[in-house]
């Protein structure tokens, strides 16, 4: 069980990093190709600018998933330097539960919006269905939600272990 979970974590990290490499790489190549085409051949790929903007959205979302895994989301964190360690742990459990709930709501709303887009046949990049470009938003928030749930549970377990260790003493 523990092995499966660890393997899942490793696989998830790998997929995130690979996606970020591919996204960033294609963004650099596309932008440079645009400059070369314009300066040398006076031409351009009409869809490239829009595609670059969609890649920015994907980079933002996948980057956010990675930030959730690496615990690098921006927090104000005013009290953790002055609260006792046990309280800090409980606060962490609470705020991560809160964040998970918020992400669940956003994922759900984004999913509703996606269905509208499918229904109305919205398109991007001339004629491609828009939902393919936009599905990353509900997907990312769902995954981030999962991450915060896991982190919250792990922190709670750490808190219990610590409390037990202290009472044993």
């Amino acid at each position: 069980m523990k092995d499966t979970l660890a393997r899942l974590e490793a696989a998830g990290r790998f997929v995130e990093s690979a996606a970020l490499v591919v996204l960033l790489g294609s963004m650099i190549l596309l932008s440079v190709a645009q400059i070369v085409l314009r300066q040398l051949f006076d031409g351009s790929l009409v869809w490239a600018d829009e595609l670059i903007k969609i890649i920015v959205l994907w980079l933002a979302m996948v980057g956010s998933i990675a930030a959730a895994r690496d615990n690098r989301h921006i927090r104000i964190d005013l009290l953790s330097h002055i609260m006792p360690p046990g309280m800090v742990m409980l606060a962490r459990v609470t705020v991560d539960m809160f964040a998970a709930a918020v992400c669940a709501v956003i994922a759900w709303q984004a999913w509703r919006y996606l269905q509208l887009e499918i229904e109305f046949g919205e398109t991007v990049l001339v004629s491609k269905p828009a939902w393919i470009a936009h599905i990353i938003v509900p997907a990312a928030f769902l995954i981030i939600c999962y991450r915060f749930l896991v982190d919250s549970a792990l922190e709670f377990r750490r808190f219990l272990t610590r409390a037990k260790a202290r009472s044993d003493k």
Partner: protein, 419 residues
């Protein structure tokens, strides 16, 4: 009201900022009986903003630079050029850090990349420990007014101000900060009469040759933008490709196997910033719908009547803001609110941007959440109180420069066309 209080507590307990902002936006939407689906629409508008591509591209380039030996080459070069002066190494520290921060986006990597080289060197040269600590810590965010720093780009995106105008506007104010800190460093060390190192053309030549590949970078970025050869986001792409070529292919200081890690680390920062941008777009939209900027303007107008008194109020507000919010969140969250108010008092939006960033720069050094204080404390193994007190004089000098920048708009606007 009750909800706001709960949200505030969650925020200072350490809830992720994007979740807090998203919640306040969604609460606002439900008050206005707007469908919460709007949230999705706002997040998707990340894919509609012009120039946003510049942010991941420059961030990646900055991370690559900081992981290579470019910091060492930069220090050697500045040392060769400035090291012979009294207080020379302090000047080296300030200018190298400013240059480096401009490229790495003031995310704390400067202290880690350059501080590790400069801190021991300063100590060896006989500067007092407290001076070193303060100097390195405050240098870590110097240079965020210089192109192509991320905060400048982000302000341009959020306020829809020409980014190349902002790049020009930041030059003199950034130099003012640099010169004032340099002057103070020389003054403090005026009795430190160690034998000055000689100026040597040979060393300058050697350092130049070593840094030959990185030297064209500022020219590529700024020259490209101002000659109209390419747009800001294209300059970012060229920079990213060029830095990749230099550090990975030419110098081979970063292996291909390490690239995914560097990319991941830089994109984690980008993801953290852009998700806050996305939810802030939603909260801004709610506030505009609820006419909050107008109400704020009316409220402010009751207390202040002149531009000067408005600027004083703004400065106090920004200094407090900087102490609790990081620069990126502050830009996306607060700029849309104060932009119309500042316009109401005739403050130019380019000047406002420079004032905003200059004041937020102090936030890196002010307790309780100053990022640089914590990074320095961690990196140099000093107690946070030591770092506070060592940084304090530098903070005061920077405060002086921010006041100067605020009340002397020409400093920002002199190079900007149409002002």
């Amino acid at each position: 009201m009750l909800f706001s209080v709960i949200l505030f507590f969650l925020a200072i307990l350490g809830a992720p900022l994007f979740a807090v902002i998203a919640t306040s936006a969604m609460l606002g939407f439900s008050n206005l009986e707007t469908d919460l689906m709007t949230m999705a629409l706002e997040l998707l508008s990340i894919a509609q903003m012009p120039f946003l591509a510049a942010i991941p591209l420059f961030t990646f380039a900055g991370y690559l630079l900081s992981e290579s030996n470019a910091p060492k080459r930069l220090v050697r070069l500045t040392n060769a050029v400035l090291g012979w002066m009294p207080g020379g190494l302090a000047l080296v520290c300030l200018s190298a850090c400013a240059f480096f921060t401009a490229f790495t986006g003031a995310s704390g990597v400067t202290i880690i990349a350059l501080g590790a080289i400069l801190y021991p060197a300063l100590k060896q040269d006989g500067y007092s420990d407290s001076f070193n600590l303060g100097l390195v810590t405050s240098s870590g965010s110097l240079g965020l007014l210089f192109a192509p720093s991320l905060p400048l780009i982000l302000y341009g995106v959020v306020a829809s101000v020409q980014i190349d105008d902002l790049f020009l506007a930041g030059v003199l104010p950034g130099l003012v900060m640099l010169v004032m800190l340099s002057g103070w460093s020389i003054w403090v060390n005026r009795h430190n009469r160690k034998p000055l190192s000689d100026f040597s053309w040979r060393e300058v030549g050697g350092a130049l040759r070593e840094a030959a590949w990185e030297l064209p970078l500022p020219v590529v970025v700024l020259g490209g933008i101002y000659s109209g050869f390419f747009a800001v986001s294209e300059a970012a792409a060229i920079t990213a490709l060029y830095v990749f070529f230099v550090e990975v292919v030419v110098h081979r200081e970063i292996g291909v196997r390490e690239l995914p890690r560097v990319i991941r680390e830089s994109m984690v920062l980008v993801g953290g910033i852009l998700i806050i941008l996305g939810v802030s777009l939603a909260s801004t939209n709610y506030m505009i719908e609820a006419e909050i900027p107008q109400k704020l303007l009316a409220l402010v107008a009751e207390f202040v009547s002149s531009q000067t008194s408005f600027l004083i109020l703004l400065l106090i507000f920004l200094l407090i803001l900087g102490a609790i919010l990081d620069i990126f969140s502050a830009i996306v969250l607060v700029v849309p609110l104060i932009l119309p108010i500042a316009a109401g008092f005739g403050v130019d939006e380019v000047h406002l941007g420079i004032v905003f960033l200059a004041a937020m720069q102090l936030g890196y050094l002010t307790p309780p959440v100053g990022l640089n204080l914590f990074i320095a404390s961690y990196r140099f193994n000093k107690s946070i109180m030591d770092v506070y007190s060592a940084t304090f004089p530098f903070l005061m000098i920077l405060l002086l420069s921010v006041i100067l920048i605020t009340f002397w708009p020409e400093l920002s606007l002199i190079f900007v066309a149409g002002h």
